[in-house]
């Protein structure tokens, strides 16, 4: 029997301020909990809206929103909650879990990682190649300009197909978002100065800068970085070891696309692995030889819309899951209930214990009815 856990705390992130706040909130409410929502202070207009509007529509005694920064977050973490749901970075995820440990509060951590996209469909048909490119572009710069936990972080493609891929991507980017940084449209900006600098710094390394094959322009005043593609930046550079969370797309080339499995396994488990391929054997290998929260074949992002699939990470990309009924479950305690009658009574259960009783119960456990009969008829002895 599912039962609400009680009073739950939800931390939501700034990149999808409404979805990431209200999605778990819906789960918590449907499971019957009271909720405190603490949205990220990096999206101030959205927070103000949530703080003002939620009390107008929802039960203010049971559902509250609190605005504030890291200090408020820290203070909240010192209190005892029945569950904490956190969406954000692994660094803060550790702090949340450590604080929860003091009260033995269960947590769900929705983190991130470097979500790779394996591209193996460029040499199928031109239309499939085009769709692949569209889905990649849509999956990289579509979600908050790459600032999403499930955004494509980098691509893996066979070296002989790299230039074809880059051309397709360039065409698609121009069509979707504009010819250059001045005419950029239909795309988010970088959330703040700090993130902007972080991303710009990823490109500072001369070897990384040299690998830019498209884009690279930035506008500090408007906090805009245009869609940027890099070809084979050094594997030990920061852009290839940290989660990018921005509009920079490295393409890593391989001699053989099957090598992508080892490449992905050399990094920590991502939230999603995207694989554009029609090779059924390769699909099976990807499924069984890699580990990630989710695997999506031949598309990007849409798994988020599939309510019957649990959404969550594994390893460094987090633990716990939600969406659909999983949200309800995540905020519930599944209480087991056993009803017994008073009859029949199994006497051998009780002391004083004898060999006979021991044998009886053993046989009963194994449903060895024949043995039981023999025992009762004195034909069987221990």
């Amino acid at each position: 029997m599912p039962q609400p856990l009680g009073v739950v705390l939800i931390f939501s992130s700034w990149n999808f301020p409404f979805t990431l706040a209200l999605d778990p909130l819906i789960g918590a409410i449907s499971a019957g909990n009271t909720v405190l929502l603490k949205p990220s202070d990096l999206a101030p207009a959205c927070i103000s809206f949530l703080v003002e509007t939620i009390p107008k529509y929802l039960d203010n005694k049971a559902i509250k929103v609190v605005a504030g920064g890291a200090d408020i977050g820290e203070r909240l973490l010192q209190l005892k909650w029945d569950k904490i749901f956190y969406t954000g970075s692994p660094r803060v995820g550790r702090l949340v879990m450590a604080a929860a440990a003091k009260h033995l509060t269960p947590v769900t951590l929705e983190l991130g990682g470097k979500c790779p996209a394996i591209v193996d469909t460029l040499s199928t048909t031109p239309s499939k190649a085009k769709v692949t490119a569209k889905r990649i572009v849509g999956g990289k710069w579509g979600p908050c300009n790459g600032q999403a936990c499930i955004a494509i972080d980098y691509l893996l493609v066979e070296e002989k197909l790299a230039s074809a891929l880059i051309e397709l991507l360039k065409k698609t980017i121009k069509r979707f978002y504009g010819e250059n940084i001045k005419s950029l449209k239909s795309i988010s900006r970088i959330v703040n100065e700090h993130q902007f600098q972080r991303l710009v710094n990823l490109l500072k390394d001369p070897n990384v800068a040299d690998s830019i094959v498209y884009g690279g322009s930035v506008d500090e005043e408007k906090l805009v970085i245009e869609p940027t593609i890099l070809l084979d930046p050094p594997l030990d550079s920061e852009i290839m070891s940290e989660e990018i969370f921005g509009p920079l797309l490295p393409i890593i080339t391989l001699k053989n696309i099957e090598e992508s499995i080892n490449f992905i396994n050399s990094k920590s488990n991502p939230l999603v692995i995207y694989a554009f391929t029609e090779d059924e054997t390769f699909k099976k290998r990807i499924l069984s030889e890699t580990s990630s929260g989710t695997v999506t074949f031949n598309d990007s992002m849409v798994q988020f819309l599939c309510d019957s699939l649990p959404f969550g990470g594994v390893g460094q990309s987090g633990f716990g899951r939600y969406h659909g009924k999983y949200s309800f479950d995540t905020f519930s305690h599944e209480k087991s209930i056993l009803h017994r009658g008073f009859y029949p009574e199994i006497e051998p259960r009780y002391p004083p214990w004898t060999d006979f009783k021991l044998l009886f119960i053993k046989l009963a456990y194994e449903f060895d009815y024949f043995g039981l009969i023999l025992l009762l008829l004195w034909f069987k002895r221990s």
Binding site: M1, S288, F297, R340, L358
Partner: protein, 492 residues
């Protein structure tokens, strides 16, 4: 001199040794060995053989550590693990299969499934009261395809070393290891990065385990305890109820079990009858002098003996003993002891007893017992109710929050494979047993298959109001909405 030091260093299990163990297991895991169905089957069969061929030794070890009666060792340790292995062998194929998931219009055309994969290298830290039952989560971890370190409790040393020997002899040492030791060894293990930790024990250490796990973002299952209450209503078959409470209390390691009834709540007018029934049945089970009975475990060690003695020696509590109270410090024995109406703020009513002491608290009306349970602070691992009254049963099931509830019996829910076994709040998080063990040690990977047909141009920029309306309609799954949007689109 140098040789001696070397030997000494070898015996110390420190962070470096722990790191080496984890590395070895991770290397084994990466080869894919533990993922294979055949490996899992081989290990489970080997475990069955291990239990079967060593039952006398296991019983002897448990007798050394806990004076555990053979009946309990055979049934509550060996037989349970045996059954779990059999269940896993029978069902594993089915558990390992991907589970189809429904897809809707929003991702059409697509198909979805959920694939179970092992988490990797897992750590199982077990408790001293049921040392061989620590194989319970190990069975789950094996069936899910993981590499495992088992750290048995040092407070049951004979069992710990027998486990270490048997596991090394029967199971695949490159993937399943036992690490013995106490606090230093456990700390060394906890510094490492695990893919899951399952800890059985108390709340204090559980906090340490979870804090250590937090450093590596390792998910945990914590199987703790609590004060499991028993509500006894006057409308029942008293003899059967009493026996079942005794079986769950003193019949389970002499009250030293996480699901043992901790205290009883009953109505004032029923208390005397209940106490008399207990006296009668306790004598029938354990004889006039329970300290002579072979069917009772002893207290595990002198620390716990002193702790329990303190509980009954407390002023205002010692006078409430209505049965039992006999002790033998040398043999670490405490007889089944019943107390009536101890003060609610006494130590025996604040801490989990984990021993052969059973306080009975009386209330005027049965309904007050629910308030008493709520106010006792901390949700217990189990809660029990004895009644034939349907309304009370419903109220109990709906309002009492605990890991698991049993009506008209005690402790037996552990044997039901289809019930998840775990706590809530202070009694723990996560659950296992049966398929829940398999799930606890698996990652349920979501998989979405999409095709190339019918790419929805609607989702791509340039974004227009028309696209937005149509997409919103599609996402909402409303056919009417979709038609309206389409019409709006074409007529725009």
């Amino acid at each position: 001199m140098l040789m001696e030091n070397k030997a000494e260093n070898k015996a110390v299990f420190d962070a470096e040794s722990a790191n080496e163990v984890v590395k070895e297991l991770r290397d084994s895991f990466v080869t894919g060995k533990t993922k294979s169905y055949r490996w899992r089957v081989t290990q489970l069969k080997a475990m069955l053989k291990m239990l079967d061929e060593n039952e006398p030794q296991i019983v002897a070890a448990l007798r050394d550590d806990l004076s555990k009666p053979e009946f309990e060792s055979s049934l509550y340790e060996i037989q349970i693990v045996n059954n779990l292995c059999r269940l896993a062998l029978k069902e594993m194929n089915h558990w390992m299969m991907p589970e189809k998931a429904k897809t809707s219009l929003t991702t059409f055309p697509s198909s979805a499934e959920i694939v179970s994969e092992p988490l990797g290298v897992v750590l199982v830290i077990s408790a001293w009261n049921y040392p061989f039952l620590s194989l319970d989560p190990v069975v789950g971890a094996i069936s899910a395809g993981n590499a495992i370190v088992l750290k048995p409790s040092e407070m049951a040393p004979a069992s710990s070393s027998l486990l270490a020997k048997l596991v090394a002899d029967y199971l695949d040492s490159s993937c399943i290891k036992v690490v013995e030791g106490a606090v230093p060894e456990t700390s060394a293990l906890l510094e490492q990065k695990w893919d899951k930790i399952l800890y059985t024990g108390n709340g204090r250490v559980a906090r340490i385990v979870m804090a250590a796990a937090a450093k590596h973002l390792t998910p945990v299952v914590l199987e703790l305890g609590g004060k499991s209450p028993v509500i006894v209503v006057s409308d029942i078959n008293l003899k059967v109820a009493t026996r079942r409470i005794i079986a769950g209390k003193w019949g389970c390691n002499n009250g030293q079990a996480c699901v043992s009834p901790d205290y009883i709540i009953t109505t004032k007018d029923y208390a005397t009858k209940l106490v008399d029934s207990f006296k009668c049945e306790l004598e029938r089970f354990y004889g006039k002098d329970p300290l002579e009975s072979k069917d009772l475990s002893r207290i595990v060690n002198s620390d716990h003996f002193d702790r329990l003695s303190k509980l009954i020696d407390e002023e205002k509590v010692s006078s409430k003993i209505v049965h039992g109270g006999q002790r033998n410090e040398k043999n670490l024995q405490i007889a089944p002891t019943i107390l009536l109406d101890v003060p609610v703020n006494s130590l025996i009513m604040k801490e989990e007893i984990f021993g052969p002491l059973l306080p009975i608290i009386t209330v005027d009306k049965v309904e007050q017992s629910f308030d008493l349970i709520h106010s006792s602070g901390g949700k217990p691992l189990a809660a029990y109710l004895f009644t034939n009254n349907k309304k009370l049963k419903r109220k109990f099931v709906e309002t009492v929050s605990a890991g698991g509830l049993v009506v008209n019996d005690t402790a037996v829910h552990l044997a039901i494979h289809s019930l998840p076994f775990g706590g809530v709040g202070e009694s723990g998080m996560g659950s296992y047993h049966g398929k829940f063990s398999f799930d606890a040690f698996s990652h349920k990977k979501a998989v979405l298959y999409r095709g190339f047909a019918g790419d929805a141009f609607l989702r791509y920029p340039p974004y227009t109001p028309g696209k937005l309306t149509l997409l919103q309609a599609l996402l909402s799954g409303s056919i009417v909405g979709i038609i309206r949007a389409l019409l709006g689109w074409f007529w725009a």
